[in-house]
């Protein structure tokens, strides 16, 4: 009986098989840490007098709280500042490497792991952050954990876990490509709309098919990043030549003979032909067009060409009530074409779409054009390295000449934890991952979009795709 990719990675990390109802004990290869979900875990270690077992498999950065402008000044918000300073003290005390604000490697935790070459195929990666699923793009098993589990990993470098079920998400098109203007963000928004926010519950998703095989590493990360929005703990993609090419030469990637040994091992990391998944979902990518969300969870999405849905046409009572509440919160009227929905703010960034390819895509759309009057556009690189690369390519000037704001690295407007926030009632087109009520600031209204749609929306002032531009 063959095994799936997820099962292979699981088996290779089995420290101890659980007896009866007891979970398996799984070894963790890489623990990513940030300031928000770690202070209580470090406190727990101190209280119990326990050391942090493997600081050499742990790395920390500052991302959620950090401002993205005036970054040379102390953080103005004293509560945010205390949290960041607490991380610095904790990392110093427990010997954890830390990339602080203004360090050349600082950035969003899920951007820096891959770009340093720390995320590699077949590894287990955890972080006290649900978007850890991002790292699954390398064929790693990567998932978000809570603070108690953060403390558990710090103390033991393991986690007690129940085996996940497996679900194949087969994404194919006639020639393996996506239509012009369609990105991996649209693919994953369509997947979530199809299976729902709870559809992936208890599963590890494996994205497969010719569309996935042709995606770049960065585009694959965008897909895996949003697995959690379908309720799945993790999303994975089998490593291949594209993965190896991305990794080769990175700081922490194997070198010389160890590289060859690693590639030989990575070659085994694919689902066997005779393996079976617990569930399979097919997505026809030939019919995919740019996707946007209209509601207050990431499953409430539709093609940009559609209209705001009418809750009265929804049969399921709970779904109908949820849609009514969502439309009220979003200030939308059923039947309005989505293309006519005006926005106040456009945000390009986050662990979903804050990589260099995302910035290049948005810049290509906005180059030589202007951000519409009354619209604020924020472009926030996901890491300092992305920022420097973009500046080397002159992308920052493309954005600022169009009237957008060019910022420093951080989570920024993805979540209301730092100064970049929506005001109550403000509406955004955002390349981030969550359109929950108040996610981008109290009372803020979020439409999730791709970087291409974000840039086109900034120019027209209403939800748009590049093909809507003159």
């Amino acid at each position: 009986m063959g095994r799936t990719l997820a099962e292979k990675v699981w088996d290779e990390h089995l420290v101890r098989r659980g007896q009866g109802a007891e979970p398996d004990l799984i070894y963790i290869d890489l623990h990513l840490v940030h300031e928000v979900t770690s202070p209580q875990a470090f406190d727990g270690l101190r209280l119990a007098g326990r050391p942090l077992r493997r600081p050499d498999l742990t790395v920390a950065t500052e991302d959620h709280n950090v401002p993205t402008k005036d970054v040379d000044l102390p953080i103005a918000d004293p509560v945010s500042r205390t949290q960041v300073e607490t991380l610095r003290r904790n990392c110093a005390e427990f010997g954890v490497p830390l990339y602080s604000m203004n360090h050349a490697e600082q950035g969003i935790v899920h951007i820096i792991g891959p770009q340093l070459g720390l995320t590699q195929p077949g590894m287990t990666v955890v972080c006290g952050d649900s978007h850890t699923s991002t790292h699954g793009a390398f064929g790693a098993m990567a998932f978000g954990i809570g603070t108690s589990e953060v403390e558990h990993v710090m103390a033991t470098q393991t986690l007690p876990l129940k085996r996940f079920k497996t679900m194949a998400i087969n994404i194919n098109s006639a020639d393996g490509t996506l239509r012009p203007g369609v990105t991996s963000k649209d693919v994953v928004l369509a997947v979530i709309a199809k299976i729902g926010t709870g559809g992936g519950q208890g599963y590890v998703l494996e994205y497969r098919g010719n569309v996935i095989e042709n995606l770049s590493m960065e585009a694959r990360m965008t897909v895996c990043n949003m697995s959690i929005e379908a309720g799945a703990r993790a999303g994975m993609i089998a490593p291949d030549a594209i993965t190896y090419e991305y990794l080769n030469g990175r700081d922490h990637a194997p070198k010389g003979a160890e590289w060859d040994e690693a590639v030989a091992a990575w070659e085994q990391l694919r689902t066997d032909d005779d393996a079976t998944f617990d569930a399979e979902v097919d997505v026809d990518a030939d019919t995919l067009t740019p996707f946007v969300t209209w509601g207050t969870n990431p499953g409430q999405g539709l093609p940009l060409s559609a209209r705001v849905p009418d809750p009265r046409e929804i049969a399921d009572e709970n779904e109908r009530v949820a849609a009514e509440k969502a439309l009220t919160y979003m200030g939308l009227t059923a039947g309005t074409p989505l293309r006519e929905v005006p926005v106040d703010t456009v945000f390009v960034g986050s662990c979903t779409n804050g990589r260099i390819e995302d910035l290049r895509a948005a810049a290509a759309v906005i180059k030589g054009r202007k951000v519409a009057e009354g619209v604020r556009m924020l472009v926030v690189p996901g890491s300092m390295r992305v920022r420097f690369q973009a500046e080397k390519e002159g992308l920052n000037e493309v954005f600022t000449q169009a009237g957008a704001e060019w910022r420093s690295a951080g989570c920024s407007m993805c979540l209301g934890m730092n100064p970049d926030q929506l005001a109550p009632g403000e509406r955004s087109a955002s390349t981030s991952n969550r359109n929950f009520e108040g996610r981008q600031g109290k009372g803020g209204r979020t439409h999730l979009v791709s970087p291409l749609v974000a840039a086109a929306t900034a120019v027209r002032g209403t939800l748009s795709s590049p093909e809507d531009l003159d």
Partner: protein, 200 residues
């Protein structure tokens, strides 16, 4: 952790599905470095509406939350569990929980009791018709009772055992530290370390 066997308290009907952890506690409350005192952040946006269920007596004194499907989706923040517990909740009943939230609850001593959506509807009707009705949740028997209603719920057997015994996960794992040592000795040397060996 304090053992959990049975709990009786006022039931609170929360007629919403997809209650994400950003609603349970918004990010702004996550800046604190302490582990207690999060009750002010619980449902803070919704609590500004005077008609929100927790602003209505006697629900404001509730300790058993009965919520719609897919409770606890989104962010991994364990603060969501702390906020519910700090407010006074000991049990959340729903027909489906998000994985990470359910895991965090088990660690924090908050019971997530899963039952059918039909049973959730029955509880909602009872609690709305007779506000202040107490709900008893018996973890030993995996049973919920309130007035004439009685129903079974599902909970992971291992989590149930840990809650009943009040056991700490890390302590349990460290009983098998020898297994961890042995596993570590077999890990390939090529696997990455976070210590900086080359310049970035």
């Amino acid at each position: 952790m304090e053992p959990f066997t049975t709990h009786t308290g006022i039931g609170v009907p929360l007629r919403r599905s997809n209650v994400d952890t950003d609603q349970i506690i918004p990010a702004v409350y996550l800046k604190r470095v302490t582990r207690t005192g999060f009750e002010d952040g619980l449902f803070s946006a919704w609590r500004q509406d005077e008609n929100f269920i927790l602003n209505i007596e006697p629900f404001s004194r509730g300790s058993v939350l009965v919520a719609g499907q897919d409770f606890g989706t989104g962010s991994s923040r364990e603060h969501a569990v702390w906020a519910l517990k700090d407010y006074g909740f000991r049990v959340v009943i729903s027909s489906r929980f998000a994985d990470i939230f359910r895991g965090n609850s088990g660690k924090g001593g908050l019971l997530t009791a899963q039952c059918s959506q039909d049973d959730v509807e029955l509880l909602w009707k009872l609690l709305e018709n007779e506000p202040g009705t107490e709900v008893t949740v018996d973890l030993t028997e995996k049973a919920i009772s309130a007035k004439d209603l009685s129903m079974r719920f599902e909970v992971d057997e291992y989590v149930r055992w840990r809650l009943l015994e009040g056991l700490d996960d890390i302590g349990l794992t460290l009983r098998n530290e020898g297994d961890i040592d042995r596993f570590e000795a077999t890990r390939p040397a090529r696997l990455p370390r976070t210590v900086i060996t080359t310049s970035g």
